[in-house]
Symmetry: C2
């Protein structure tokens, strides 16, 4: 990690899902910007506990936080919203490395980043941080470096800030890190992972299923980092 | 214009603002697709009459229509939403051809297209139509062909449909037409322009100001097409 450099005049937006990756991203962004705004989205996800967690993570980190409610009609055909569809469980590494699972939400990161882009440009913020990761992940197309490069090019072409030479930057500080590396960095920065929720289908008390892709990736990440996950301790 | 070809299995989405361009685009799309859904956005625009017009245009055209309400915090710093800012009036051709006016809404087409993309991918629609125009327009960066090409590339990289080789196509059939050409095409297709509203700051009865960029471009378009605008007849 580079030494943290504060850019006091430059505020930034962090997409905050309530999960492990976005919480770590928030702390990374906070080490580089004087003012941070967290943005979370209620899109009818079955794992709604993450919205409460996002609010709590923001409160503990001392940042401003906005929850945006999206029209419920926008995301269909995904098991993260549609409770009649099954969330895949106990998939092998091979299965996770090939194909796109039913938990894919059509255009989700595109829509979240577009909201963030309008908000950031309107409020004069210099960057948007998103905790996407293309190493220990489920194969979503909108979590790959190629996608974020294309999004940045599109944002540069389609906004006043971009055309005037000071585009809003899309920052993906976790994109090439393993889950274990993310957890170590976050632990060093003081992230309280007991506040985060990663599971796609937690029970009514918010306890993780330990079977979905997201739980499995988290479990292995803590194991490889040589740390204990406070959620399962 | 090419002969209209029906693709009966392929539905499409049309972004419907209630203005002249999007109404024309709807009729063009309807000539090529068996099923059309219109999508409109309530983003706190001062010219809200256009939302009623969009609904009426959809009804008359016999298509399904959805109105999406966006969180009011998303668009700031634009005179199309902020009533304390002045809408530019009676600008010269030279002024319209240079710079980006205060009516620019940060990232608006990016956000609208992103909503449309999620909706289209989730519902298995093949195309999104948007009535953007880069000839007789106000200099918005998100109305230029370069922007739409970049958006398409980003959508191809960031969606399952794109990665599986059947991307949702973003269609901009008006992009290189003059306003007069658009009006002639729409008139041939049977668009009732009396239902459309173009003004950025209509009065309480919905009457156009005749001074904003949008009114001026419309006025000249009808003049050059040799037709009478039913709104001002």
């Amino acid at each position: 990690m580079a030494e943290s450099q504060q850019n006091p005049g430059s505020g930034a937006l962090v997409l905050l899902s309530g999960g492990l990756d976005s919480a770590t991203t928030l702390y990374l962004a906070r080490s580089k910007h004087s003012a941070i705004t967290g943005l979370s989205f209620d899109y009818g996800q079955r794992h709604r506990i993450e919205l409460d967690r996002a609010a709590e993570i923001a409160r503990v980190a001392g940042i401003e936080h906005h929850l945006i409610k999206l029209d419920a009609s926008v995301f269909v055909g995904t098991s993260l919203v549609d409770r009649s569809m099954a969330v895949p469980e106990e998939r092998s590494d091979e299965a996770m490395a090939t194909g796109i699972p039913s938990t894919y939400v059509p255009g989700r990161n595109i829509l979240f980043l577009s909201f963030a882009l309008s908000y950031a440009e309107g409020h004069g913020l210099s960057a948007i941080y998103i905790g996407a990761n293309a190493v220990d992940y489920s194969g979503y197309p909108d979590c790959r470096p190629e996608f974020f490069e294309a999004f940045q090019a599109m944002a540069n072409a389609g906004t006043r800030a971009g055309q005037e030479g000071h585009p809003v930057r899309v920052e993906t500080p976790l994109i090439r890190l393993t889950k274990a590396e993310i957890i170590r960095i976050g632990t060093d920065l003081g992230v309280d992972y007991s506040l985060t929720s990663s599971c796609y289908q937690p029970d009514d008390e918010g306890r993780p299923c330990q079977k979905c892709d997201s739980c499995q990736l988290r479990l292995r990440g803590f194991q490889q980092a040589g740390l204990i996950d406070p959620l399962t301790a």
